[in-house]
Amino acid sequence: MIYNQKPFDVIVCGAGHAGVEASLAAARMGASTLLLTGNIDTIAQMSCNPAIGGQAKGQMVREIDALGGEMAINTDLTGIQFRLLNESKGPAVQSPRAQCDKKAYQFRLKHTLELQPNLQIFQATVTGLIFKDGKVVGCRTNLDIDFMGQTVVITTGTFLRGLMHVGQNKNEGGRLGDFSAKTLSGSLLEAGIELQRLKTGTPPRILGRSINFSELEEQKGDPEPTLFAFHDTRGPEDPFHVEQTGEQRIGWKPGSVQVSCWMTHTTLRSAEIVRDNLHKSAMYSGEISGVGPRYCPSIEDKFVRFADKPRHLLFLEPEGRNTNEYYINGLSTSLPFDIQLELVHSIPGLEQAQLLRPAYAVEYDFAPPTQMFPSLESRKVENLFLAGQINGTSGYEEAAAQGLVAGVNAALKARGGPPLIIKRHEAYIGVLIDDLVTKGTTEPYRMFTSRAEHRLLFNHGSAELRLLQHAKSHMLLNNSRLENIFAKEKRVGYWENRFETSTTVGGSWANAIRRDREAVILPPEFAAEAKEVREEVLYRVAYRGYLDRERRQIEKFKHVEKVRIPDALDYLAIPGLRRESALKLHQLRPQNLGQAGRISGVNPADISILMVLIAAQNAEKS
């Protein structure tokens, strides 16, 4: 049966970290939105470790907050341990990270979705898409109910033909205990979307009561947590989408006890066990064809590739306050269960550990992301958007960021407006999407600060200011918060200017701060400013030289970013364009000259030729 005659504006398939942000963003923009998930009880599940943030990802979560997303506030409300990473480095590469209560994280998000106006949730597995005239118009489900939508956002994570391996044992599914979405792959292929395989893995989970903590080193949270959401610009009346009253609004409160993580390490015995059993590992016996990430090697990889390293560090992360389950971060493997058991028992503190769930590797389909526009809409099928792991990324934060952008753009597409495109120089989210659509990826793509050319501009505290114009032009935040951010921007600008222009003993305030920030006694009015304002001002003043250099660089390339390449341009017929470049451009079809220039193998002369051609075509038209 067909469920609805009047199509939804946006249908989101999958309620992982991408799907949740996509559906919230669309609904908050006023689009009538449907979220389909195979299992309502696993909404926003952390399939891997129970932590949000960390290097580059933490900054990205704050960017999500700046664009009206939910991940940051949800982490603040359900976090059980907070740490600011990289305190010894410059402020731009300091990143907040939090351990979350896994179930609390899910329940709060589920509740948020339930209370979200314009959003309907329904439990059904999407089995295929419905196309009409080369566009997607809805989806089919396992219940034989068809849902019609103007746009469809696919956020199915690792569920597309997911295949899990524990040694030689294979199970279909995207996550232990869940099913696999098989027929949807067929639907995408039918629409001409190319699919490839990737793999990733997770470590075993163990019972806390069976851990001997006395042997282990403790890792505590920071006494003063760094939160993800910008609480300074939220008014007291600002709805949190889930009613929480008064002080209880933040789950973690100063003075309340944070939960600790524990550190241990592999032993020589562990190395021996792994080496003796390599042939039984799914990844080493050739069972798995997908490509795994370089940065998240299995324990097999670690012992093989870094054979001279005597031990590898492991972190035991609690999965929540109301559970005794621990995640062994660092021990991902696809060895058979009996070997896993032996391996775990070779680790100090885990001699008696009980396994609750085995480690496994999962292989799944992804759609190489160069098949999308920067709006995350498919180039092959109009009105179809893709976000998250299906695009070849890894990580909750990367997924959420894409989900948010895809949700906003699906809503805009349904309404008929220009898409939200975040530039590389504005945010990690911009780098993420630009890398995906212009370069693609051959391993699960994870964000690193070093992927950003201008990371010094991406300090986590500036996310709201950097993305303010986008938030405003698409009304992604409510008015009071927008006003507060504008006010904050003003304050920051005021102090920046005042420090540069007014003097104290021995020169301008700014120079004094740059010489020795600790030694300067700042004006009392400054001390009265909000912490967020103070920190941003001091950062901008102290690193002014660097930040200016970055801005000059950006300025230089801005004009090429603005030159749009006509959609129908036939690269193969352009005189003077080198064949190699023409083929690449033809295949990747960049949208502007800036993107074209970032494609490897396309050189400046090719860009010059395109520039002349486009100018000539534009002049001819007018």
Binding site: N49, G54, Q55, L85, N86, K89, G90, A92, V93, R97, H265, P293, R294, Y295, C296, P297, K302, R305, F306, K309, H312, L313, L314, F315, N329, G330, S332, F448, T449, S450, R451, E453, L456, Y546, R549, E550, E555, K556, F557, H559, V560, P575, G576, L577, R578, G597, S600, N603, P604, A605, I607, S608, I609, M611, V612, L613, A615, A616, A619, E620
Partner: protein
């Protein structure tokens, strides 16, 4: 990538073809540039006589310069044209000085491109401009490749290798603070930076115009054993420089000698004969022949005309073209064997190295190739050289900056920003270095990830 807001500079005439070379600068700051170099902006379109002094005040040349105020110039922007003596050294010096004063080296065909974008050309010329950009970029690429084939390329690549290692290390500590990495050794980074700086300085000292002009056109004599290569070298040099004997395999190592032919300096290299069935010692000599050939600008392929036409090893055949190779049929004084066709349409001459016959024809052929060769890439080579010096200067400045930051105990992520600038600068010489290269190195050197 080009940017209309900056001021570009380049050589505007092909070097080596005329007595005068013209260096042109165009863009927003052209008028400031004229004031800075010559003191005042003269009335537009009026050629002025003046001394050109570089930034340090040293006299470079007496020149004629003309200022064109935009939009009434070729590009539509403020433009200055400086005519100096045709000596390539002078043209390069002036170009380097303009770059040091803040101009950007013009990209292939960029003056024409700007003219077009500024509406100084009509639409029908778009295709011609595109062709020009293409042709010039191919030539610039050829010139740059020619340089990189030699010592410069090897040295730059070594420096890049070292810099990538440093960056991968620093980035590992920035991007993976929670990993089990060995303690960050910033002293080691300092030492590596010193090494890099020394390398950049060495290159700056040697990277002046023209290995090609100053050191001569590298001309490799090659051919089968006993073809008369050594005899030919002796004949061209005018004395018994190389050992000659009727035994094939006489020359075991290469030897080099400089000669002037016409107006060109040549570095003549005699090599061990190409004997496919050589034994080990001789083989080593032949390996050296291949090494020499890889850096050659010109080839003299000596063929014994009394014997059937020999084949060419594939690696050589790929590099030898009618534009850089002369087929020298030797032993003209003896009865020739019937000949097959040459594998390519090489220019050919007949000589007797023993008696000296045909030598003028050979010299004429060499002069002709050498000249076309200069016209072909001589001016690009100046541009390439100036560009390389600029890039090396930029790299050096960025490296120094990073070194100071680290010495002052500033966070290493700030120094990383300078190191990236240095890497970009080196990349202007050897081709852009992708971010993936650093990540690859990082993951190969450190066990990262949980």
């Amino acid at each position: 990538m080009s940017y209309l807001g900056d001021t570009i500079a380049a050589l505007a005439t092909p070097a080596g073809t005329s007595a005068i070379a013209v260096v042109r600068a165009s863009g927003l700051h052209a008028a400031d540039l004229v004031r800075a170099v010559f003191g005042a902006t003269p009335p537009p379109r009026l050629a002025q006589h003046a001394d050109y002094r570089d930034r340090s005040g040293a006299l470079v040349d007496d020149v004629l310069f003309t200022f064109f105020a935009g939009p009434n110039s070729f590009t539509g922007e403020d433009t200055v044209e400086i005519s100096c003596h045709g000596n390539p050294f002078i043209a390069q010096k002036i170009l380097e000085d303009l770059l040091a004063r803040g101009c950007r080296p013009a990209e292939a065909g960029e003056f024409s491109k700007r003219a077009f974008l500024n509406g100084r050309m009509d639409l029908s010329q778009a295709e011609a401009v595109m062709d020009l950009i293409h042709a010039r970029s191919e030539r610039a690429l050829a010139a740059a490749n020619q340089q990189l084939r030699g010592a410069l390329g090897r040295q730059v690549n070594q420096l890049i290798e070292l810099l990538v290692n440093i960056l991968a290390t620093i980035e590992a500590y920035v991007d993976f603070p929670d990993e089990d990495l060995p303690p960050e050794d910033l002293d080691k980074v300092q030492r590596q930076l010193d090494e890099l700086l020394a390398g950049a300085n060495r290159l700056l000292a040697t990277n002046r115009y023209g290995e090609l002009l100053r050191e001569g056109i590298k001309t490799v004599i090659l051919g089968e054993p006993n073809a008369g290569k050594s005899s030919l070298l002796n004949r061209l040099v005018g004395r018994e420089r190389a050992l000659v004997s009727p035994e094939p395999g006489t020359t075991r190592d290469y030897l080099e000698e400089r000669v002037v032919i016409g107006s060109h300096w040549l570095r003549l290299v005699d090599t061990a004969g190409l004997n496919p069935s050589a034994a080990s010692l001789e083989k080593r000599g032949i390996d050296k022949t291949f090494e020499q050939a890889a850096e050659a600008d010109l080839f003299l392929w000596v063929i014994d005309s009394t014997r059937p036409l020999p084949g060419l090893p594939e690696t050589l055949a790929a590099r030898m073209t009618p534009a850089n190779t002369i087929a020298v049929f030797n032993k003209l004084d003896l009865p020739p064997a019937p000949k097959g066709d040459l594998p390519k349409a090489f220019p050919l001459v007949h000589v007797s190295a023993l008696q000296g016959a045909g030598l003028e024809a050979l010299q004429a052929a060499v002069t002709k190739l050498a000249e076309s060769f200069h016209v072909e890439i001589g001016d690009e080579l100046i541009a390439v050289n100036a560009r390389h010096s600029l890039a090396l200067d930029q790299a050096k400045a960025a490296l120094l900056e990073a070194k100071q930051k680290l010495a002052a105990q500033e966070p290493s992520d700030l120094a990383a920003s300078d190191l990236r600038a240095a890497l970009d600068a080196f990349g202007q010489i050897s081709g852009k270095i992708d971010n993936e290269t650093i990540l690859d190195r990082l993951f190969a050197s450190f066990c990262i990830g949980k």
